[in-house]
């Protein structure tokens, strides 16, 4: 498998299925691990980094699906390709932008990615569509054991897995769900939700697009602490809160329908209209409008579009994806033209509605 093939396929987490997938986009778990006999990254020499990279690279083929994984040397990748992997949630922004020997291994379904030499020597990540943290934990727990059978992790009986930053020590685990909450944003209730989450030590952050623009009413909820709670408990803390937020969002959507169906329908239809006819459009505006359309589809206000197609448009209209699909580097102005062309092609039915039929 090559990187360019990824650009044409759709990652598992964008499938748009799975429990509660109208609101819960994806479930993610990542584990931070370090080799016991090397300094942490900030203290590692270039030689250390290369040795860490080769030790971990050799451990990967022995994991399930390991032989089929695409191994990408991130250090040698161009800027567009690195950004492309960030947009697909396969590597972190920090991993894309740092220096020195580093890599990522990606399984063909894009469910599992293993970052080498990120903030920690090893960052294992599992990403599933919809609300599915328990399956994600089962898979990542197994892969963690499989890698550990080949290497020695830095571990302390009282402190747990030792990480470069004390904010990750203990389980080294970050559990998160990405939610689409347009009605809570529209009814200005999102702050209230945030405040209540902080009280129970969960973190909320907007998803960022190009630069630091908050993107398309997507919010990520994750555990704040990693020490002193078991993995199952950390997962449960997140899993327990999600149905409540889903209920708030659904209530807000019903409120909008009941109180101002015409306004809502108008808003959704105008968004759809702009996306189908614009000649040049920024990433920010695209996300904003796609968010309205996505809610419109979920509420039955738009009937000729499907959620997986929309999920895919969110991804494929991002800067690096546009450039990968166009096969050439484009500046901002040219990207905006290409983005509008891409949207028109995929949203006007006579030319084939699905972004997969490209």
């Amino acid at each position: 498998m090559e990187l360019d093939e990824l650009a044409r396929q759709r990652g598992e987490w964008l499938r748009g299925s799975g429990p509660e997938s109208d609101i819960v986009i994806s479930s993610r778990i990542r584990l931070a691990r370090n080799l016991a006999d090397f300094p942490f990254i900030s203290r590692a020499t270039e030689k250390d980094r290369s040795r860490i990279e080769s030790v971990l690279r050799e451990a990967i083929p022995d994991t399930e699906n390991g032989a089929k994984m695409l191994y990408v040397n991130v250090e040698q990748l161009g800027a567009v390709d690195r950004q492309f992997l960030v947009e697909r949630h396969l590597i972190s922004r920090e991993h894309a932008e740092s220096q020195g020997a580093r890599a990522v291994a990606i399984d063909p379904a894009e469910t599992l990615s293993v970052m080498i030499n990120e903030e920690d020597h090893l960052r294992i990540q599992v990403l599933f569509s919809g609300l599915n943290l328990n399956d994600a934990w089962e898979l990542i727990n197994r892969v963690d054991d499989q890698i550990e059978s080949k290497v020695t992790y830095a571990f302390h009986p009282r402190l747990g897995y030792l990480t470069a930053c004390p904010t990750n020590v203990g389980t080294g685990m970050r559990v998160s769900v990405m939610l689409h909450l347009p009605a809570l944003v529209l009814t200005r209730q999102i702050d209230k939700v945030f405040r209540s989450l902080q009280k129970i030590s969960l973190a909320v952050r907007g998803l960022y697009g190009e630069g630091s623009q908050a993107m398309g009413d997507f919010y990520q909820i994750s555990n704040q602490v990693t020490l002193g709670k078991s993995e199952e408990r950390l997962i449960k803390d997140v899993v327990d809160i999600v149905p409540k937020i889903i209920e708030y969002e659904r209530t807000a959507r019903q409120f909008l329908i009941k109180e101002s169906q015409e306004n809502l329908h108008d808003r959704v239809s105008r968004a759809y209209g702009i996306l189908r006819t614009a000649q040049t459009i920024s990433s920010e505006e695209t996300m904003h409008l796609l968010s309205s359309v996505r809610m419109g589809v979920n509420l039955g206000l738009i009937e000729d579009l499907e959620i997986p197609t929309l999920n895919e448009l969110f991804l494929k209209t991002q800067p690096a994806h546009l450039q990968k699909l166009a096969g050439t580097e484009l500046d901002t102005a040219d990207r905006n033209i290409e983005r509008a062309r891409f949207l028109r092609r995929h949203l006007n039915k006579d030319s084939g509605g699905s972004a997969t039929r490209n």
């Binding site: 016991a36 020695t152 571990f155 009282r158 470069a164 702050d191 945030f194 908050a214 709670k229 078991s230």
Partner: protein, 173 residues
């Protein structure tokens, strides 16, 4: 609550203790990152939120110590990787796994501050459940061996090499 510097929601609540009296700040992630990196001594190294926060907490932690105590503490170095406490608190990044032991007294309150707990209760490695301290000593031994070679002290280098090999092959105990 809205961020004090822009329209986004405030998700970071910072209490600044480095000035005369405590100052409360409510910021969104981006403004918090800007604020924390601006206020740190070495902004370029505090690249991520986690690092900036750790740095912030580390700074808070040392409030209340005399300048002399602080200066002494800052010079304390980890025998394995050589990082000083000052390096850690200015960058928010530890140098090696042994730092958790070398700086245990300072890290304890910090961990409690971050996590509200100070003992791990989750997963234990399947194959090496007893901890990895011995293996982490390889970092020090390799460093010492390189130094011995540079000093042309080949006898010492050979001893160190043998010790490294014993640990690496697991026949040291």
């Amino acid at each position: 609550m809205k961020c004090q510097k822009c329209e986004r929601p405030a998700t970071f609540h910072i209490t600044e203790l480095t000035g005369g009296k405590p100052l409360e700040l409510h910021l969104c992630e981006e403004c918090a990152r800007n604020y924390l990196t601006q206020s740190s001594e070495q902004p370029a190294t505090a690249t991520t939120m986690a690092a900036a926060l750790a740095h912030q907490l580390a700074q808070q932690m040392v409030v209340g110590q005399t300048a002399e105590e602080l200066a002494q503490l800052d010079q304390r170095a980890c025998p394995v990787c050589g990082i000083t406490f000052h390096d850690f608190r200015s960058q928010g990044r530890l140098g090696c796994p042994h730092d958790y032991i070398a700086f245990e007294a300072q890290l304890g309150p910090l961990l409690l501050n971050i996590h509200g707990e100070n003992e791990h209760v989750g997963k234990i490695p399947k194959y090496h459940p007893q901890g990895s301290e011995k293996r982490t000593q390889l970092i020090r031994l390799r460093r010492e061996m390189a130094a011995a070679v540079t000093e042309e002290n080949y006898e010492r280098a050979k001893e160190l090499r043998d010790e490294i090999q014993r640990i690496e092959s697991g026949t040291d105990s």
